[in-house]
Symmetry: C2
Subunit: 254 residues, 2 copies
């Protein structure tokens, strides 16, 4: 059985705690967080601590804190014999202390407090510095996920960037769709089937083939009408930049 | 039973034909298209025609042609007694001839040839000029869909614009995600769970709450690293414009 200390109390720490807590392959022996109040969700863990002096010895230390804090926080683990890993898509393995055994365990999913994550469907991107550490990371990842992918820091950085496009930016487009529907006094959920079908299509066929709409048809009348309808400059900018990029990308089709 | 003539041979015409063809409430009596070869998919219809001289008398004429051709094509139906409707989100009812009984029947979904549309889940946005015509459009829409929504031309124009954001533009972001994964030599399908979860979240909770990522955290290090990683100017532009808009929209949170 692998013993685990989780460092952090945010969304990722909480969701990983929930996913790992009852798995027979692993045992969470401690959760560490600076703020005692934020440790409340972890009260069913045997041990919680606010002081890095109190770190227990463990096979793995999962540093699930903000990207900017990983380097500082992980310094407290530089003399530990266990494997020190972070959970960030954007950060290199090298932000962890060179004296430690180091690894990365990046769950490729949008993780918020409000919504329980089903980790069995979440790809876990792992990185380590030797075969032994890869084996222990695989065992940890397999305990919660069916999809484990070995990835270098360079690959992970790019995959995280791709995730920003398909998640953060897509989400912002949904929000704009919501605003436009509100202006039309039509409930946003009228777009639900379109949103879901668009996502399903992307996962099942080439999106190049799936592209439709005024930009790819070079339908200037509709494009100009749409720009007139948009009230906010940032929405007009998004419309123009994306329409131009669609046209540039599919130039041969126009 | 409502009799129908379909005008057009493109994606929408084909998918509507398939959806309506075996419904007991309606009978497709004719399909009209300029190009005889493109009428092949409709051969199991009783009657196809390439000449507007041969239009049969019908309760409804569905003009399912390109937006730019609706006005011209519908002129051939200006003296018919049946209801003349188009299927476009972007075009007003008023593009149809004033002498005709006019209506709109806009299926709010991404429709391509490759993928059979399940119309039962597609919102049908209808517009007519009197109660009798609304009744017949409702009957037509209810024959294939559980979700029928009355909408003015102004509302439909806005909803179509919202659809461009959540479908066309989202789709383009998926394509960019695909390109970045290819560069990382990681299969694009690693993003499938994220794409589907992001879409599901939007249909189930406020996207304002769901927004995550470097832009909303104002994480300038990651933003700059991402801009460096992007090779194409149009991708850099999209990244900047969307990140700025996310920050502007969520200003109070920063």
């Amino acid at each position: 059985m692998i013993t685990i200390v989780i460092v952090g109390t945010g969304n990722v720490a909480q969701q990983l705690f929930t996913a790992l807590n009852n798995k027979k392959e692993v045992k969470i022996i401690q959760v560490i967080g600076r703020d005692k109040n934020k440790l409340t969700p972890f009260n069913n863990c045997l041990n919680t601590a606010t002081d890095y002096e109190d770190i227990l010895d463990s096979d793995i230390y999962i540093i699930a804190v903000n990207d900017d804090s990983i380097a500082t926080v992980s310094q407290h683990f530089k003399n530990k014999s266990g494997l020190v890993i972070h959970t960030s898509g954007a950060m290199d393995l090298s932000v962890l202390p060179t004296s430690a055994r180091r690894g990365v365990f990046y769950p490729l999913q949008t993780i918020s407090k409000e919504r329980k994550v089903d980790f069995s469907e979440v790809p876990i991107c792992i990185e380590a510095e030797n075969n032994e550490d890869y084996d222990i990371l695989k065992e940890l990842a397999n305990a919660i996920s069916d999809q484990v992918q070995i990835m270098t820091s360079n690959q992970r950085r790019l995959v995280h960037l791709a995730a920003v496009f398909v998640n953060n930016f897509t989400n912002h487009l949904y929000l704009i769709g919501n605003e436009i529907c509100a202006e039309a006094q039509v409930p946003f959920n009228i777009l639900n089937p379109l949103i879901l079908e668009t996502a399903k299509k992307a996962t099942q066929m080439s999106e190049l083939n799936a592209q439709t709409g005024p930009a790819i048809r070079d339908d200037q009348n509709t494009i100009e009408q749409h720009l007139d309808l948009l009230k906010k400059d940032n929405h007009k900018d998004i419309y123009s930049v994306l329409s131009n990029s669609i046209q540039k990308t599919h130039e041969k089709k126009l």
